[in-house]
């Protein structure tokens, strides 16, 4: 029998490897990471050795030579056990490293893409600012060319991965000029960690994703060579939107994995927990919750894989990526809410994993474009203006 689509051997083996890795290397540390917020250096370094930090990049640039679908599967499997590890990988690949791969010059690829894809350093992506969230084009950070150098001034907020010992570089949207039509000319410039004038604030305290590294960055007459411009001047905003198409697929995968983790916890718990003399799994009300969770997870996984396969095929996928991100993240919120419900009061207790999944779910409806923004993107793709 030939199925309409089935993962090939390579993908199955890869899923198994990431699942085993997550179970054996990450699961024993999850509670500790959640409680302390410590960055999981040992786990991230091991992921680098296995090629997980460079899955969708070519081998000649230090990557694993895989595709976007393999990458989505990895993020899903990591999130099934721990959201912090999953977002660290996601932000590194989709956001921090992708600009070098898609738009970097050969020289920039050699210098930055190689160590990023090999997982020797972590990358981050600075788009969001206090005044530029959903309105990502309202960038205030400026870069002025003076004596062959860009002089950068401004603030970025909520940036993932910049402040760890492994962090190497951040790519930024910056205003480099005013266009003839009066709009901002936005370009993409990278800044290596340690550059004078590049200040990294302490970690934010967050509702979820405790062990991921999220910080505010400020640039105070920060000077980098003119050659740190990625791609052409004025194309920064377009580049970031393009990277976000890919990022949204990976966030959708992160949502599928988070929901899957919460679902498995709930299924196991419902079978064990007895009330009224029976396992609660025998009550139809609980069975229907689990049936709904399983159904929605399956649907979300399918649209996510479809969007990933479209990106791999090189066909336009802005709409599908937004749909996958929108549906999967909202599905994940519903699924984790029901997962806590299945656990009753125990689900409200820190020591039960579903309380963690629940708190990790909310950000998925916000980061890399809120649900409202995804609906705006989809509506625009439908020709509505």
């Amino acid at each position: 029998m030939r199925l309409l689509y089935e993962l090939d051997d390579e993908k199955k083996l890869f899923r198994k490897t990431v699942r085993d890795f997550s179970e054996q290397e990450i699961r024993p540390q999850v509670e500790h990471l959640w409680e302390t917020g410590e960055f999981p250096y040992d786990i991230v370094r091991k992921m680098g050795e296995l090629g997980i930090l460079g899955i969708p990049f070519p081998e000649e640039y230090g990557g694993a030579g895989g595709d976007y679908l393999a990458y989505a599967i990895a993020v899903e499997e990591l999130a099934r056990v721990d959201g912090s590890c999953a977002i660290t990988v996601e932000a590194h690949i989709s956001l921090g490293t992708s600009p070098f791969y898609y738009y970097g010059s050969e020289e920039q690829k050699r210098e930055w893409l190689v160590p990023l894809a090999q997982g020797r350093i972590l990358g981050s992506f600075g788009l969001t600012e206090p005044e530029a969230g959903s309105d990502a084009g309202n960038t205030q950070t400026r870069a002025e060319l003076a004596g062959g150098e860009w002089v950068i001034n401004g603030t970025k907020c909520f940036i993932t991965n910049p402040g760890t010992e492994m962090s190497g570089v951040v790519t930024l949207t910056v205003v480099t000029d005013t266009r003839p039509d009066g709009k901002k000319e936005i370009s993409n410039i990278y800044v290596p960690k340690g550059t004078p004038g590049y200040n990294i604030a302490p970690k934010y305290k967050k509702m979820g994703w405790h062990a991921s590294d999220t910080r505010e960055l400020s640039f105070d007459d920060c000077r980098v060579p003119e050659s740190n411009l990625i791609g052409k001047r004025g194309e920064g905003f377009k580049q970031f939107l393009d990277c976000l198409d890919g990022g949204r697929i990976a966030i959708a995968a992160l949502a599928v994995g988070t929901a899957q983790g919460a679902f498995e916890e709930s299924l196991g718990y419902a079978r064990e927990r007895k009330q009224f003399g029976r396992p609660i799994a025998a009550f139809q009300a609980i069975q229907f919750k689990l049936a709904d969770m399983a159904t929605e997870i399956e649907i979300a996984r399918d649209v996510t894989y479809k969007a990933a396969a479209m990106r791999d095929a090189g066909v336009p996928h802005t709409k599908e990526a937004a749909m996958a991100k929108l549906f999967a993240s909202e599905m994940c919120m519903r699924a984790t809410t029901q997962a806590v419900q299945v656990h009753g009061g125990y689900g409200f207790m820190d020591e039960y994993a579903v309380s963690r999944f629940f708190r990790d779910a909310k950000i998925l409806e916000i980061g890399e474009g809120t649900s409202e923004v995804q609906r705006m993107v989809i509506a625009r793709e439908l020709g509505l203006r």
Binding site: D8, D9, L13, F14, T17, D20, G51, E59, A64, G65
Partner: protein, 264 residues
């Protein structure tokens, strides 16, 4: 050094309820997940580590249907070179001896210094395949091996066998030989993404009984000395004493029993 590793795909029953199927001779596997037999995973790692130290070749062999390709490919992804899968209706229903006959048929056609197997399987647990395989090949064997030191490549090895209570027995063994590997001998690696990509493209040679020159009357159920009659679930309560009552009562009873037996 040329090495052969025999691997088996087995159901993972650690987290699931196990039910006997309608035939009474097997368990219902429809909802179980499958993976490589635990000891075999260590056997694969041991072979690959030796290859990395001393160079050579690792051939992976599995007796089983197409489903077994996944465990074979994982072993290739970790560093195995070639693979053979033995598939034939005639192999069905075999005991440990019949399995060993099939494996011996495949190993005989290869140049080998060490054949690695797991010490036992998670499903049947006979622990007899490595011994029977060595007898059929006419070479020495060691089982429950928890340490391997190559003294002279292709000629001599020192192996540690794990005995009761963690005691280790060391012996020298001539090659070629069969080693049944125990868990914990090493730390099995994860396949790298590059390894997986290469393994997915490798060919797995599928061989039938006839390809190995084996007579159907001599293998599978027909060639077995032991034939599985029936599975029965363990009878509850015969061996165990179930303490009943409120928690404080049962705790007091338990404490009494432990004291009486001199265990606390």
């Amino acid at each position: 050094m040329n090495m052969v590793v025999c691997v088996k795909r087995v159901p993972d029953t650690s987290e699931s309820e196990v039910h006997i199927d309608a035939s009474g001779k097997d368990i219902d596997k429809s909802r179980l997940s499958f993976g490589i037999n635990e000891c075999d995973n260590y056997a694969v790692e041991e072979a690959i580590q030796i290859k990395e130290r001393l160079e050579g070749n690792v051939t992976v062999i599995s007796l089983g249907g197409k489903d077994s390709d996944e465990v074979i490919r994982m072993a290739l992804a970790k560093g195995g070179d070639d693979a053979i899968r033995l598939e034939d209706d005639a192999f069905a229903g075999g005991d440990a001896l019949a399995v060993a006959k099939a494996l011996a048929g495949a190993v005989k056609g290869l140049e080998y210094d060490i054949v690695f197997t797991g010490a036992l399987t998670d499903d049947d647990g006979y622990a007899a395949v490595p011994v029977a395989l060595a007898e059929l090949l006419g070479v020495p064997h060691a089982t429950y091996v928890k340490k391997v030191e190559i003294l002279e490549p292709g000629k001599k090895a020192k192996v540690g066998r794990e005995l009761e209570g963690g005691l280790m027995e060391f012996l020298e063994i001539d090659m070629p030989c069969v080693l049944g590997i125990q868990t914990g001998i090493n730390e099995p690696r994860y396949a790298s993404f590059k390894g997986i990509k290469q393994a997915a493209k490798k060919e797995i040679a599928v061989k039938s009984a006839a390809d190995l020159g084996l007579d159907a009357a001599d293998i599978g159920e027909a060639g077995s000395w032991a034939v599985l009659e029936q599975f029965t679930p363990p009878v509850v309560g015969e061996m165990a004493e179930i303490l009943e009552g409120e928690p404080d009562e049962t705790a007091a009873k338990l404490a009494g029993i432990l004291k009486e037996k001199g265990l606390v």
